[in-house]
């Protein structure tokens, strides 16, 4: 099977993730969209590793997973704290840190 299909799939998933971050206000959804982008990248890594026949891409995918796990821990904690103080998870409402 041609690797192109995997790369196209990866591109589509990444675009969905990016659009999700840009368009949705809910912090949880934006967060999930980020996860989508990370996994799209993982898919591209793994496909490339397969195409080139070495394990670098596979290793990179593991790194990404670990980073994503750590990020989920911190990110969810922040979102929960924001929700507790403001009773809302909208990313647009938390806009005090500005000029």
């Amino acid at each position: 099977m041609s690797p192109n299909a995997y790369l196209v799939l990866s591109g589509i998933i990444f675009s969905i993730g990016a659009l999700g971050v840009l368009l949705r206000r809910n912090a949880i959804v934006a967060f999930m969209s980020i996860e989508l982008m990370l996994n799209a990248a993982n898919l591209a890594f793994v496909t490339s590793a397969r195409v080139w026949g070495n394990l670098d891409g596979q290793a990179a995918a593991f790194f990404v997973m670990v980073v994503a796990a750590a990020e989920v821990v911190v990110g969810l904690a922040i979102i929960v704290t924001i929700f507790r103080t403001r009773n809302s998870a909208s990313v647009d409402e938390a806009s005090l840190l500005r000029w």
């Binding site: 971050v21 840009l22 206000r25 990313v91 647009d92 938390a94 806009s95 500005r98 000029w99």
Partner: protein
């Protein structure tokens, strides 16, 4: 050994200044002792020197290597040159200096800052001795600045008087113009001759192109003009009379102001090599001697009149120094005789002021000869000496200068002769107004003779003023004494010497007669309806006005313009840069909206642009 002469007064000054009020009681006596011992050291060295044959008299003592820059030929010794010229100065400075120290004991007895005064006097003596004993120009420059500092401190000694403070500053600034010339001359010497010692400069000046002695000579002349109050830097000397009278006598008559003459005579080889520089010296000397005499004739302030006279007499010395080998010896001879008779007259003026509640207006003196017998006699001896009546000192020195000037050119000779007549006129005016004529005293003035500490130095100095001229010119002893250092050639005036002497005496007698006949009636207040010339002379021939319009006001305008230029253009440019940066950034920061999604959008767009750019470059 001769270093002691410098070290003792310097040490005494340092002690008195650093120990402060604790030395109030014994300080003045220490100061007098230091000055006296400097004189004794000088006298001893002089006697040693006279015992040696002529060619072995000069000696150089190197105390230590002062400035050495490794790897270059820059090496200047702290060396003292004791020869016939410098020992003459050492004797004059320490002898007159000691007498004036003693005089100050009486004159300053009521001043609470007496100790500081004596410390400054010692500082002056040390610096002046360093000036005349240095064996190179740089060390001379140290002494030169030292005497300038002492002069500044002493003119402004009564600094609570604004006029004294201003006069001190003025003297300092005018001297600085001259010092600038000296420092430039020293730099030129080092660049061109590779050394600044007198010996090396003398040796190498003859082999250099003609512009070298010309330039250095003119720069040295500028220095001499500043220190010796010669035209065009003369204006500070009259104001310097704000200082205490002993200071005027020691620094602004007998010693410091003659440093310019010393510099010219010491640099004889440079001036001998450039006729133009010599002629400039002569012109400056003639202008100053006439200007000084005219100012001296118009002033009613006894000290300012004497200051004009000092300027005039130094004009004679500068004129003589400009004449070359026929004049150097007489310049120094006149310098020494002037040191005596001018000092005695200044001390006399101080004694008169002491007796009349510090009045200086000659129009309120008169008839003081009855109550101040010692002052009158000593002043009168000084008077006879300065106008040049034989056998008093001034006759011998001034007559020789007139002869030498005549053998140079008729113009210089006649100017010197005319100056002698003017001198006789204004000195007669001063003596008549002060000691003879009817009393015109202010109320509550009871003239009385000054204490012994003041009259004694005057008596000793007047004995000098009476005898030193005849003593030094017997059998041409002074010419032979100085010849090895300055060189000497016999002047050949166009008239027989005896004729010149008679003409001079005739001119002097004429001046005296005019001086007496014009001062039969002396109004208590200066008449205001006077000729333009008199008004000009009363205003120092507009020397100050000239400085103000030519230098001060343009200078102020220039600095005002520069301030505006600095604020407007230079500061404007840099503040403008800051303003622009500030306004741009205050606009740019609006992009920080606080909305996370707009940040995300810019990240996405940025990434997209980066990817596109990479693709484009790849293709």
């Amino acid at each position: 050994m001769i270093a002691l002469a410098i070290a003792l007064p310097a040490l005494s000054a340092a002690l008195l200044l650093s120990l402060g009020r604790r030395t109030n009681i014994w300080g003045p006596y220490l100061s007098i002792a230091a000055s006296t011992s400097a004189f004794l050291v000088g006298l001893w060295q002089f006697l040693l020197m006279t015992n040696r044959p002529t060619e072995e008299r000069a000696s150089i003592t190197t105390i230590y290597e002062w400035l050495v820059v490794p790897g270059t030929n820059f090496k200047i010794n702290f060396g003292l040159q004791l020869d016939q010229l410098s020992v003459s100065f050492v004797l004059l400075i320490t002898f007159v200096g000691t007498l004036i120290h003693i005089y100050s004991l009486g004159y300053m007895s009521h001043d609470e800052n007496k100790r500081r005064f004596f410390a400054y006097l010692n500082l002056f003596v040390a610096a002046m001795l360093l000036l005349v004993l240095a064996d190179n120009y740089l060390l001379l420059y140290v002494g030169w600045e030292g005497v300038g500092l002492a002069s500044y401190l002493l003119i402004g000694f009564w600094q609570h008087k604004p006029s004294a403070a201003v006069a001190a500053k003025k003297a300092f600034v005018a001297n600085r113009v001259g010092d600038f010339g000296l420092s430039l001359a020293i730099m030129m010497m080092f660049i061109i001759f590779g050394s600044v010692s007198f010996i090396d400069v003398n040796a190498s000046v003859s082999g250099s192109p003609s512009w070298v002695p010309l330039t250095i000579g003119l720069l040295l002349l500028l220095a001499a003009c500043g220190k010796s109050a010669q035209f065009p830097l003369q204006s500070w000397l009259l104001d310097a009379m704000e200082g205490p009278t002993p200071v005027s006598a020691l620094i602004h008559a007998a010693t410091m102001v003659t440093a310019g003459v010393y510099l010219i005579v010491r640099s004889a080889s440079i001036f001998n090599a450039s006729t133009f520089a010599q002629n400039t010296v002569i012109v400056i000397g003639v202008i100053s001697l006439l200007m000084g005499a005219v100012i001296g004739a118009a002033k009613d302030d006894i000290k300012k009149s004497l200051a004009g006279s000092t300027m005039s007499q130094i004009g004679y010395m500068v004129l003589a120094a400009g004449l070359g080998p026929i004049g150097y010896v007489f310049a120094i001879l006149h310098l020494i005789t002037h040191g005596f008779f001018k000092a005695v007259m200044f001390l006399g003026a101080g004694s008169v002021m002491h007796a009349t509640n510090d009045n200086v207006d000659m129009r309120r003196f008169g008839g003081l000869s009855k109550s101040m017998i010692f002052t009158t006699i000593t002043f009168f001896i000084g008077y006879l000496a300065i106008i040049g009546i034989p056998p008093f000192a001034g006759f011998y020195s001034k007559d020789h200068i007139i002869e030498a000037a005549l053998s140079h050119s008729w113009a210089a000779g006649i100017a010197a002769l005319f100056g002698a007549g003017l001198t006789a006129f204004y000195m007669t005016r001063m003596v008549v107004m002060t000691f003879f004529s009817k009393p015109r005293w202010e109320e509550k003035v009871h003239p009385h003779e000054s204490p012994i500490s003041m009259t004694l130095p005057m008596i000793i100095l007047s004995i000098g003023a009476a005898t030193i001229g005849i003593g030094l010119t017997q059998n041409n002893v002074f010419e032979h004494w100085l010849e090895p250092v300055t060189g000497f050639s016999e002047p050949h005036p166009p008239l027989p010497i005896l004729t010149i002497t008679y003409i001079t005496l005739g001119v002097v007698a004429l001046g005296v007669i005019i001086g007496i006949s014009l001062n039969r009636k002396i109004p208590k207040v200066a008449p205001t309806k006077v000729t333009l010339f008199t008004t000009a002379a009363r205003n120092d021939l507009y020397g100050d006005l000239l400085n103000e319009t030519l230098l001060m006001r343009p200078g102020m305008k220039l600095s005002k313009f520069l301030t505006i230029f600095d604020r407007g253009v230079i500061d404007g440019f840099y503040s403008g840069l800051g303003l622009i940066t500030g306004s741009i950034s205050s606009r740019l920061r609006r992009s920080e909206t606080g909305f996370v999604r707009s940040y995300a959008l810019s990240i996405v767009l940025g990434t997209a642009i980066l990817v596109l750019a990479i693709l484009v470059v790849r293709l």
